[in-house]
Amino acid sequence: MDVGTAIAGVLTLAVLSFLYRDNPVYKMAESLLIGVSIGYTLVVIWSSTLVDLLFRPLFLDGMLPLIIPLVLGLLMFGRFHRATSSLSRLPIAVMIGSGAGVAIPAMLDARILKQLSATVMPVLTASGIPDLSAIVIIGGVVTTLCYFYFSREHKGALGSAATVGTWFLMVFFGTTFGYTVMSRMSTFIGRMEFLLTEFLHIAN
């Protein structure tokens, strides 16, 4: 067994020991995970962001416009002192302004307009038979929107539609929860497979 497998096996068992109760071995594994993750991310970001995108092009290739993001980045550190904290508003404003400018049209298109156009569909198939899935989708969208319409009391037709909307929401929550359980079980199964085969050699 190589060192990497042994370390991974011991740490997996250390993390699983939390299922019994909180203990120092689990805490050690948890701290190690946080430390290694942050360390790894810092190194990757240092090399692929600061070195590749800023220091090398600015200082070696002489790309002077990069002074602007460098200065903006340095202004962010102004937050650490009360006297200079207002300086950090400038890079934050640039980030929010450019971020919103880029994100809003894209999100509006992908998350609302495209989804809306996918909801507008014929309720009859080419042969004239009602398309059940189209009816369910349209019904689900309309009744769920009724549930989220708060400008009128949920009574009468609106109340009935809102009730149907809550059923659709419950089905969605149930499906999502089911998939999440499936995902977490998969993670556990994956670790168990590692423990039983590569670490303990109990199963093939």
Binding site: L19, Y20, S37, Y40, T41, V44, I45, S48, T49, D52, L53, G99, V102, A103, A106, M107, D109, A110, R111, K114, Q115, S117, A118, I137, F172, T175, T176, Y179, T180, V181, M182, S183, R184, M185, S186, T187, F188, I189, G190, R191, M192, E193, F194, L196, I202, A203, N204
Partner: protein, 270 residues
């Protein structure tokens, strides 16, 4: 105290169940869903030697679920002799993605630089996706190993998304959404994905609205895909355990509800 004790029994039951099912060596048959078949057919339908951009958009914590998904997709792509470019939009996915590509490439005798390349991590995912739409070599002047982009044969003539048949996002979070919002919407590149089960309901509307070309989800999706490419792996191995644990959860939910209603009835009688 009773609650703590019962919780431990539940965990122990789960542990024993998974150990027994994994140790049994029984492989469960999994009927292939339309969703997974669509993704398989898409990769299968691409002309041999098509360029696929594989983005490892996940963290290390989802590796047990992501690995079978990634392995199945990479094996299929290499078997079809497609050319692959790997990259990562999350720092933690960088090394995992490189390792997965190396392993799959070795199985099919593929050569680094000639059949596939790995560009590594690029921070600020929105900026990275948009920048690649303008120029991939300008976004990644060097590959993961520090070699110049131009020196890699497989990247010859690959300048923008126009030179890529599809982006294959292997994700455990919402990063595939950004591929659709920026890569697809702005540059028209086709997006296909392999995602963890927890993300399936998030991406279903994108699949239904045609913004995502094809998708497979979770360990189950990986098992189905392994069936399609006739190459059993982690997905197939985990299916019996997955089915058993699901039944276990259903039984526990049933027992929990039963005990709740019995307790309520007892209370009402008093």
């Amino acid at each position: 105290m009773n609650r703590v004790v019962s919780r431990h029994w539940i965990f122990l039951g789960l542990f024993v169940l998974v150990a027994l099912t994994m140790g049994s060596g029984i492989r469960l048959d999994t009927p292939v869903s339309d969703r997974t078949a669509e993704l398989y057919n898409f990769i299968e339908s691409l002309p041999e030697g098509s360029m696929l951009l594989v983005s490892f958009d996940h963290e290390a914590s989802s590796l047990p679920e992501i690995r079978p998904i990634g392995q199945a997709l990479l094996r299929h792509a290499f078997r079809k002799n497609h050319r692959l470019i790997g990259m990562a939009l999350l720092a933690e996915g960088t090394a995992i993605g490189y390792r997965l590509m190396q392993q799959a490439a070795a199985e099919y005798g593929k050569e680094y630089g000639k059949d596939y390349a790995y560009l590594g991590f690029k921070p600020q995912y929105i900026a990275a996706i948009l920048s690649m739409g303008e120029s991939i070599p300008a976004t990644f002047p060097e590959d993961y190993l520090g070699r110049p982009y131009e020196s890699l044969e497989v990247l010859d003539g690959v300048a923008t998304y126009a030179d890529v048949a599809a982006v294959l996002s292997i994700a455990d979070g919402s990063l595939t959404t950004h591929w659709m919002e920026y890569g697809r919407a702005r540059y028209g590149v086709r997006i296909v994905s392999g995602v963890t089960a927890a993300m399936v309901t998030t991406y279903d509307p994108y699949l239904a609205s045609g913004q995502m070309h094809a998708m497979m989800g979770g360990l189950r999706g990986a098992a189905e895909y392994e069936d399609l490419i006739a190459c059993p792996g982690g997905g197939k191995r985990g299916m019996l355990a997955q089915t058993a644990t699901h039944l276990y959860v259903i039984v526990l939910i049933g027992l929990g509800n039963l005990s709740y209603f019995l307790a309520r009835r007892k209370k009402e009688k008093r």
